[in-house]
Every structure is written in structure tokens, then in C-alpha cells.
């Protein structure tokens, strides 16, 4: 579930960017400091007169360029659906970005027992679904089983059986251990079994049909209205289990696919908050107009050479290295992200626990690139193809890379595919030469597994070169029982991937959430996929 959510973000971004009009060609002033500290919201708030503290009431009016389709039938929920479900649905666990660790939500604690192959969740007591039925171990089991049946629970095939120990204790017996399991299971939304069954009156199809359009969760808000691709409204859950929360009376989000209109809505005061903005230029403009901005982590952009074919030239490490030397990633990130993107030199981004400080195996060096090419027998250059999809960021990036590689004698043909062809290549059939991809970034470094796999078969990246050493480290990492040990192995894997020039990391994009000065929202602050909406509040305005 978690993996799905994050991995799929990249596709969402594609969709999103595809509907944005191109940004103007002018180069805005590049901020001097683009590191994370500067983006931290604390800084921003401290510049303002300290508000008196959270205030109750108000309807937060949001706008967003993507919209959900499925409200609560988890097997069909996309990552977008999940982010929209957050106000009304909760998971057993979640990730605290500040602490960089997994923290309780509907499960107040958990226990992982590698010896006995069990994962035990101790549930919050006194929690009720919006229909008044109790949230308990039976309900959790029912939710897991629904997902298992549909084959939509990440790592579901590890599960042997699920035991309801007592009203508030649930134990999962697994066939094999990895340290990812408890989180993969914990990252699953909980909905009322009673409401689901009642809606169908015994007819499962009817229940599913109902769950697509309705939801009964435990969250701080209730879903009260959903108009597809138009409008969604959540109202305060007065019986919420976190005492005294939430602050807001209601949240409404309107679908606004056009960024110019979204901007105008904020400026005209018709909306209080704009969720998930990808266009850096719009964000900066609004920031200048006095709006507050939360920066979120965005996506990891990388260039992936394919070794699908036995005789592919990209089996040669020297050629992959040459690619990495030839691309000036600082300049590239700056150009594409107008100063807001972070150039990448390793698989990890700077705020990951798996980040290896200072590790930059191949800084920009044209001479080295040429020498490696010559050594590999391509002194006269070579020809290759970059496959990318038809969206502005990918196109611009591919074109820029084309220029860099040209300088070392690599002739690049940019193949801009429509979504159908691109996804078929990326997800199913593979590609022949180079693929430009954006992938989501997981807070706990488990991205490595999601995108680059602990097994060579892992989706979408089956075509990249994974050395035995790398796979060994990753296999070890997911078995690690201690967190420190886990992080250490992840770091080793990051370095190994770097040594292998497995892929060429390019930069990390950023997403923003823009809000009126009187709004206090943590949207995106925590993580791209997490919104602790119960803490949001609004000043009098």
C-alpha cells in the first residue's frame, strides 16, 4: 500500500505536468540558498507575528489539479485517491518526517518478532468509525482480508494467517521476515466493515460500488460530498479520538486543472490553499504576493540505461560512467527547477536517512567522460536514444541531456512517447537504450526496494544493471532487525549503486503547497503523501 502510494506519485506528477501550460522562457532570479533548511516552514512562520495559537472553526477551501475517483474501496484506490482519503481515513502507522521515523496512529504500538515470524499491532482504544461502530482488531482483520483477496496488499504474499488476539490486539503471522513488512501492513487505511456490508445488503458488487463513492473511516473529518472531478467536502468529526481535534469545521477541495485559474482563485480570495503545485514559477509569484509556501519533497529524476539485451553496450561500466561524468547536474537542476530543485549524485536525497554525506562518485568532467568512451572503444562517439514521455519537465530534461552528451560525442535521439507507449515500456515491456524516469521518494529509504528492487524482477527497473553486490546488500538490508543496521546497509547499497553507475541520478523536484497567510496547514510539510489535517487551523480573516 505504502509502496504503491509513493511509487505511483511519479505517474501523478506526469499527468499533472502534462496539463500544465509551458512556463515562460524567462529565467527568474535563482535564490542563493536552495538547501532544505531554507525551505523549512519553521523559518517562515518565525518571520510572522506569532499567532495566538490554534483557533477553532472555519471552512478551509482548497484547490488541486488532480482529483480522486475511488473513495474507500482500497483495492482500486490510486495514490491520488489515498491522499484525498486522508481527512476521513487513517492507517495503523505513519511516518514522522521531522523525527524521521515511523510513529503510531490507529495502532498505538507494535511489535516485530523475527524469531517467531509475527507482527503484532496494539490498537488505540475507544476509536469509532463515523457510523458509530467500533474500530477493533476484527475490523482491521476484515480490512486486511479485503485487500489480500484483491491482491492489493504490498507484501501480502508473506502473510500466513491473521490472528485476532483480543479486541485491541491483532497479530499477523508471516512466512518469512523482512523489516519492511510491519510498515507495509501498517500503511493501510481502515474503513468500517459494517458500513461496507450494509451498503450492499449481501451483494458484494453493490458494496464495492458503494465504496467507490462513499467512505466511512475513523478520521478527523467525515466525507459528506463528492462530485467527481469537481468538488469534495469533508466535515468535522465531533467524536474524533484525538481529544479536542480537529480545529476546522470543514474542508472543501475543488478540482482546478488549470494553474493560471488556480493562481487567480487564490489571489481573488476564492480559495485558501492550493495543494500540490508543481510549477515553481507560480509558487514564487504567489510567495512574492504574500502567500505562505510549504515545500514538499517531489520526485527523483534519473536516467536509466537498459541492459535488457545481452549485447547491450550499457553492460559496459565505463559507458555508464561516461554518461554520469558528461552531465552537469548542478546546471541541469538549476535550469529545470529554476533554483528550487536539488541536484543529485547518489540514489539518496539529502534528507534521507540513507544519504551518504559528500558521496559524489562522478562529478561533471568532460575529459574523463571522453577518456572512458575512448577506453571502451567508442573514441568516435556512439548513438543512443532517450525514451521519455510527453511532458514538459521530461522533454526539457531530455533535450538538455542531449546537449551535454553531444559534447562528448554521444549522439542522442530523443524519443518522446505518448503515455501509452511510455508506460508500456516503463512498466511492462522494457526499453532498449536510456529511459528518463521520475520516481517518488520514500521517507525511510525504502525507495531502494520500490524502484530499484531487492530482486531483479522488480517492476519497471528490471532492465537496469544490478550487480550481485548491490542485490546482496539490499537483501541483507531488508532482513536487518535493527534500525541502525538497516540504515547502514542502505548506505552501503547506495554507495554500491553509485560504484556500479546503476542509474544516473539527476535531480530531485519539489512540490509545494501554497496558502493564504491566515492559513496554518501542515500539508506536504510532513511528506508528500501525509497531511495531518487535524492540526490545520485558520486565523480570523
Amino acid at each position: 500500500m505504502k509502496n504503491k502510494m509513493i511509487a505511483g506519485l511519479f505517474l501523478l506528477l506526469l499527468l499533472l505536468v502534462a496539463v500544465l501550460p509551458g512556463c515562460g522562457g524567462k529565467e527568474p532570479a535563482v535564490p542563493e540558498n536552495v538547501n532544505n533548511e531554507n525551505m523549512e516552514p519553521e523559518n517562515q512562520e518565525s518571520e510572522e507575528p506569532a499567532p495566538a495559537g490554534p483557533r477553532y472553526g472555519g471552512v478551509l477551501r482548497g484547490i488541486r489539479a488532480t482529483f480522486p475517483n475511488v473513495m474507500s474501496y482500497i483495492p482500486e484506490m490510486s495514490p491520488t485517491d489515498t491522499t484525498f482519503a486522508q481527512p476521513y481515513a487513517e492507517m495503523l502507522l505513519k511516518y514522522d518526517d521531522g523525527e524521521q521515523k515511523i510513529v503510531p496512529e490507529l495502532a498505538k504500538s507494535w511489535e516485530v518478532d523475527p524469531e517467531n515470524l509475527t507482527i503484532t499491532f496494539y490498537l488505540q482504544e475507544g476509536v469509532r468509525f463515523h457510523d458509530g461502530t467500533p474500530f477493533n482488531a476484527e475490523a482491521v482483520k476484515w480490512n486486511f482480508e479485503l485487500n489480500l483477496e484483491a491482491g492489493s496488499l504490498t507484501d501480502g504474499d508473506y502473510i500466513d494467517w491473521i490472528e485476532v488476539v483480543d479486541e485491541h490486539t491483532l497479530r499477523i503471522h508471516v512466512k518469512d521476515f523482512t523489516n519492511q513488512l510491519y510498515f507495509n501492513y501498517g500503511w493501510s487505511m481502515m474503513f468500517s466493515p459494517t458500513a461496507f456490508e450494509k451498503a450492499g445488503g449481501g451483494d458484494r458488487e453493490k458494496s464495492i460500488e458503494w465504496a467507490r463513492r462513499n467512505a466511512v473511516g475513523t478520521g478527523p473529518f467525515k466525507l459528506v460530498e463528492f462530485q467527481r472531478e469537481n468538488y469534495i467536502r469533508y466535515e468535522r468529526n465531533d467524536d474524533y479520538w484525538r481529544e479536542g481535534l480537529p480545529y476546522l469545521d470543514a474542508i472543501e477541495i475543488r478540482y482546478m486543472p488549470d494553474p493560471m485559474t488556480a493562481k487567480a482563485s487564490l489571489l481573488a480570495g476564492e480559495a485558501d490553499i492550493w495543494l500540490e503545485v508543481n510549477n515553481v514559477e507560480h509558487v514564487k509569484e504567489l510567495e512574492e504576493a504574500g502567500f505562505k509556501v510549504n515545500w514538499g519533497p517531489g520526485m527523483l529524476m534519473s536516467l536509466c540505461p537498459s541492459v535488457r539485451n545481452k549485447n547491450s553496450k550499457w553492460h559496459d561500466l565505463r559507458l555508464r560512467e561516461a554518461l554520469e561524468y558528461a552531465i552537469d547536474r548542478e546546471a541541469l537542476a538549476n535550469m529545470i527547477g529554476l533554483g528550487a530543485y536539488e541536484p543529485l549524485h547518489q540514489l539518496a536525497v539529502s534528507d534521507w536517512p540513507g544519504y551518504v554525506p559528500g558521496y559524489n562518485p562522478r562529478p561533471y568532467d568532460l575529459e574523463k567522460a571522453k577518456a572512458l568512451l575512448a577506453e571502451a572503444g567508442y573514441a568516435d562517439g556512439l548513438e543512443t536514444t532517450i525514451l521519455c514521455s510527453d511532458n514538459k519537465i521530461l522533454r526539457d530534461t531530455a533535450t538538455a541531456i542531449q546537449g551535454y552528451l553531444d559534447a562528448v560525442g554521444i549522439k542522442v535521439h530523443v524519443d518522446i512517447a505518448d503515455m501509452g507507449r511510455y508506460f508500456t515500456a516503463a512498466f511492462a515491456e522494457g526499453w532498449d537504450e536510456l529511459l528518463l524516469v521520475q520516481s517518488g521518494i520514500n521517507p525511510d529509504a525504502s525507495d531502494l526496494f520500490v524502484h530499484f528492487g531487492h530482486d531483479p524482477m522488480t517492476f519497471r527497473t528490471g532492465d537496469i544493471y544490478k550487480s550481485e553486490k548491490y542485490l546482496e546488500l539490499v537483501r541483507k538490508a531488508i532482513k536487518a532487525e535493527k534500525h541502525d543496521e538497516f540504515i547502514d546497509l542502505i548506505k552501503q547499497a547506495v554507495v554500491q549503486a553509485g560504484e556500479d553507475a546503476m542509474i544516473i541520478p539527476l535531480y530531485r523536484t519539489r512540490q509545494a503547497c501554497v496558502m493564504a497567510p491566515y492559513v496554518h496547514s501542515n500539508y506536504i510539510k510532513a511528506h508528500a503523501a501525509i497531511w495531518n489535517e487535524y492540526e490545520d487551523w485558520m486565523e480570523e480573516h
Partner: protein
Amino acid sequence: MTKYIGQRLVQALLTLILITLIVFFMMRLLPGDPLLIYLGQRAELHDMTDEALEELRKEFGLDKPIMVQYVNWVAGALRLDLGTSIFYREDVGTLMKERFPITLYLGCIAMAVSTTAGILIGLLAAVRRGAWPDKIISPLTYIGVTIPAFWLGIILIYVFAQKLGWLPVSGFTSPFKDFVQSTRQIILPVICLSAFGVASTARQMRSSMLEVLPQDYIRTAWAKGLSERVIIIKHALKNSLIPVITLIGVGFRVMIGGSVLVETVFAIPGVGRLMVSSIFSQDYVVVQALTLVIAVLVLLINLVIDLFYGWLDPRIRYN
């Protein structure tokens, strides 16, 4: 007249069959598997076994030979069952019921505005040819036909919603729910949708009026001592409408195209936007169904226009 209508109906039917063929096979020949895009979007693929994919294929009837799929689709369409959207997980009929009324509501208003305003403006320009109304109208209509709906929308939003605050930036409310708000919300989109129609109709109206005014029968009408109003409205208008009517058919098609942009800019949950997102995701069930319904609409409009021609021009009616 009956024969004339009959001919038109047969033509329309043949066109329709051709359209179903084109739409159906064009979508299938596009590279990429819609199921893969769908699954990719929710990143289910790595959990997805080949059997499960096959299962899904079966669910959407994609496992059958393409000709069988086509026949099934046509048979379904005849029963008004247009299939289930892969992405929305929803009956396409339901999707259309949600979306079409909105687009048609806006479209009809815009159509009405562009025809009446276009005809009146064109008439004024022609009758006062060379005088100040004509001098103002002609350049304005030129702008009207060249300005992209998208830019017009952004300019309108900027001026009337963001700066002056007279109208809401965007959105759509059902007129049955809140008539005032609904009307305020549709003003800008309707202007945007009808700008091209008003301008092109006005231009066509002006030139065809200028063509009609020097005709002998208009001189006859003058010689009969009729008033200018009667001459323009009764004698000249009907004649000059004939070429304008053709343009209304074109305008309808342009408007369907325009609704895609206008609905995006003004955040209106209409059918145009459904079309865009479905094309993006290759949700062929929706695209096919929409194309079919739009084609039927266009054919109907053309039929109405043909009949209108007959009403306007007895020479067509009786031949």
C-alpha cells in the same frame, strides 16, 4: 421535403457507422495498453501477476478478438450501454449523465448568444456599412475570430474576477441549486465559448448581408415603398442567413473543441474535460463513447441545419 429528410437521415446513418468503425479501431491501434496505464497509475503492476492482468482483461472484454469486441460494443451502444470506464470505475452512461448536461447547458447558452449576437452585430455592421458601428465592429470581430479561447479565458479571469472581483474566477454550480451563483459563474465561460462564434457569425452575417443588399429583389422591395426595417428583416435577413447557418454548424463543432479548454480554465466538470483526461489515460471506453455521442450530436445538429436550410430556402425544399 420527405424525400429530402429521408436522404439526410440515410446519409447520417452511414456516417455514423463509419464513425463507429474509425473511433473503435483508431483507439485500439494506438500504442500502449490502457490496462497498463491504468495499473501504472496506481502502481499495482509490481503486485500484479499475469493471471490477474488476464482477469482484468476479461473483465473489460479485451480478451476477445477485436471484431467480436467491435460487434459487442455496437450492440451495447444500441442498447444504450456504453460500457464501464477503466479509470473511473464507473458506468460510462453515468459519467455522461454527470457531464453532458453541464456542457450542453453552457453550449446551448453560448450557441444562443453567438448566433443572436453574431447575427445582430453583423446586421448592424452591414446596414451601417462604413459608419461608426461598422468601424468598431469589424476590427473587434477580427480579434474575436483570432484570439484563442484559452487566452481570452485567462484575460477575462484576470480582469473581471481577480482585479475587479465582479465575477467568480471559476467553478460550476447547478442553476437549480443556486441560480444566481450559477449564472455569475457561467458568464465568463460563456463569453469565452461564444467569442469565436459571435465574431465569425458577425463577419459572415455582415458579408452575406452586403451581398444581399444590392440584389435586385431588395431594390424591388424598396420600390414597393416598404420600410427599411421590413426590408432588412423580412427581405434581406432570411436570404443572408443561408450561408450563416452553415457557420452555426461549424460553430457547434468549434464549441465542442472550445469546451475542452474552457472547462479546463474555468474548472467546469463538463464533458470536454472528461474527453481530455480520457484521451490522456487512453480510457478507450470513455473516448469511444464520447466520440460516438458527440458524433451523433453533430449529425443531429447538421440535420437540423439541413432542415433549417430547407425552411430558409424554398429552392432546396422543392428540389
